[in-house]
């Protein structure tokens, strides 16, 4: 019963449910862990699909764990923008060209920030 009811819910509500579980957990979660913490009749494949969709939207990030991924929420607005830029980069086949063009179009101020960041990384 519960399975049928949960699978029928609108996609937006399921995304909210999974997102809330990630935030409540506090550390990166695999789809299996999310499914376990929700304790509802959501199939693991459904949880994986939703996590992938959230990742595509850039609101969660993931790191490799074993054969799969562990997901965690992106913390702040700046992190969110950075994630979206990554998603765009990943989408294009020619990553290097995109990066080169991106840097070529930076304003002088942006360039200075980037240089400072690189220098602080070298020290």
């Amino acid at each position: 019963m519960a399975d049928a009811k949960d699978e029928r819910r609108p996609a937006g509500e399921l995304e909210a449910t999974v997102m809330a579980a990630l935030w409540a957990a506090g550390d990166p979660q695999t789809p299996g862990e999310v499914q376990l913490s929700l304790g509802t009749g959501l199939a693991r494949t459904t949880v994986t699909t939703i996590l992938t969709r959230l990742h595509d939207k850039g609101v969660v990030d993931r790191l490799r764990q074993g054969r799969g991924y562990a997901y965690f929420p992106v913390q702040d607005a700046q992190g969110l923008t950075a994630r979206r830029m990554h998603t765009e980069l990943d989408r294009d086949g020619d990553r290097e060209t995109v990066l080169a063009r991106f840097v070529a179009q930076l304003s002088p101020d942006d360039e200075r920030v980037l240089r400072d960041l690189l220098e602080s990384g070298e020290q």
């Binding site: 509500e13 449910t17 579980a21 409540a24 509802t40």
Partner: protein, 310 residues
């Protein structure tokens, strides 16, 4: 005429005991509609009555009498009472305008800030998460509707309770409860006796959302637990969200939890209908009294302007 104009000013005091009973005898949604309708009518009639007092007072001054093209003095019953009534009404209207404007400005600023804040954070579906240790949750109306929950709140509830909380907030948005709350807040600022009615409207909105959430989740006990826990978690600090944005823990939480844990009450149909009729009667009476006196004022002004008395 003056006696009729006093009726809309006095009637809101009678609404107070009725508002309390409405929540006991009517379903939350019915109570929400009836109370809001009555409160708005009562507030509107209050303003109209005050305006009529000020108008009759002004038309007795030579300057305004000539502006209004009066050729005879304006005749009213209890003529001696008109100047003090006009002065008092002008004062009341000024206070009213001041508090309404201040509230509207303050609230629209708070609302814009809340929308901006919600726009910055990560959004999944209709859920917007604010990274804050202070537990808070509320329904934020707008395009599209959002439910805003802090990480502090998410962490203090278990998975089932979080779903219950979301269902409650979604019910607020789906029911358009913010319109009722705005109307109630405005009405309460027009007449001091409508303050308790506003509180009853707030509680009715929360109860309506609780019941809707209970239907969605299918477990009244779970909703009760989630609300109780959310209230205990969020007790420590006040949130800065706008007044008309319905939160998870608005209103007297023990009362809401009690209502959820009790079996759905079977109210007597006649008692419910009686109370509903009484509330509607109050609104109609208020409206009729101010409409009649408006027509009367208009007629008297026409007579003073030299038209033949009918």
């Amino acid at each position: 005429m003056i006696a009729l104009l006093l009726l809309p000013l006095v009637l809101p005091f009678a609404l107070r005991p009725m508002a309390r009973r409405a929540l006991e005898r009517l379903t939350p949604v019915t109570a929400l509609w009836l109370l809001t309708g009555t409160a708005v009518t009562a507030a509107g009639c209050t303003l109209a009555a005050l305006g009529a007092f000020v108008l009759t007072g002004l038309l007795r001054l030579p300057l305004f009498a000539s502006l209004g093209e009066l050729i005879h003095p304006l005749r009213t019953s209890y003529g001696g009472l008109v100047p003090p009534a006009a002065v008092l009404s002008a004062g009341a209207l000024a206070v009213c305008t001041w508090t309404l404007t201040r509230w509207a400005l303050h609230q629209s600023r708070a609302f814009r800030a809340a929308r901006t804040q919600a726009g910055c954070g990560p959004v999944a579906g209709d859920l917007c998460v604010l990274d804050s240790a202070h537990p808070d949750a509320y329904a934020l109306p707008g395009r599209p509707h959002r439910i805003v929950v802090t990480t502090g709140m998410l962490r203090s509830l278990d998975a089932a309770e979080r779903e219950a909380l979301f269902a409650h907030e979604r019910a607020h948005n789906a029911g358009g409860h913010h319109y009722f709350l705005v109307a109630a807040e405005l009405a309460a600022r027009c007449h001091p006796a409508l303050g308790p009615v506003r509180d009853a409207i707030r509680l009715a909105a929360e109860r309506a959302a609780d019941e809707a959430a209970a239907t969605v989740v299918g477990d009244r006990r779970l909703i009760a637990r989630a609300i109780a826990r959310a209230a205990l978690a969020g007790q420590s600090a006040r949130s800065r969200r706008p007044d008309f944005v319905p939160g998870a823990t608005t209103g007297p939480v023990p009362q809401r939890v009690q209502a959820l844990l009790a079996a759905p009450r079977v109210t007597h149909r006649t008692a419910a209908c009686g109370l509903a009729a009484l509330l509607i009667a109050c609104a109609v009476l208020s409206f009729a009294a101010s409409a009649t006196s408006m027509i009367d004022v208009h007629h008297r002004v026409e007579v003073a302007q030299g038209e033949e008395a009918r």
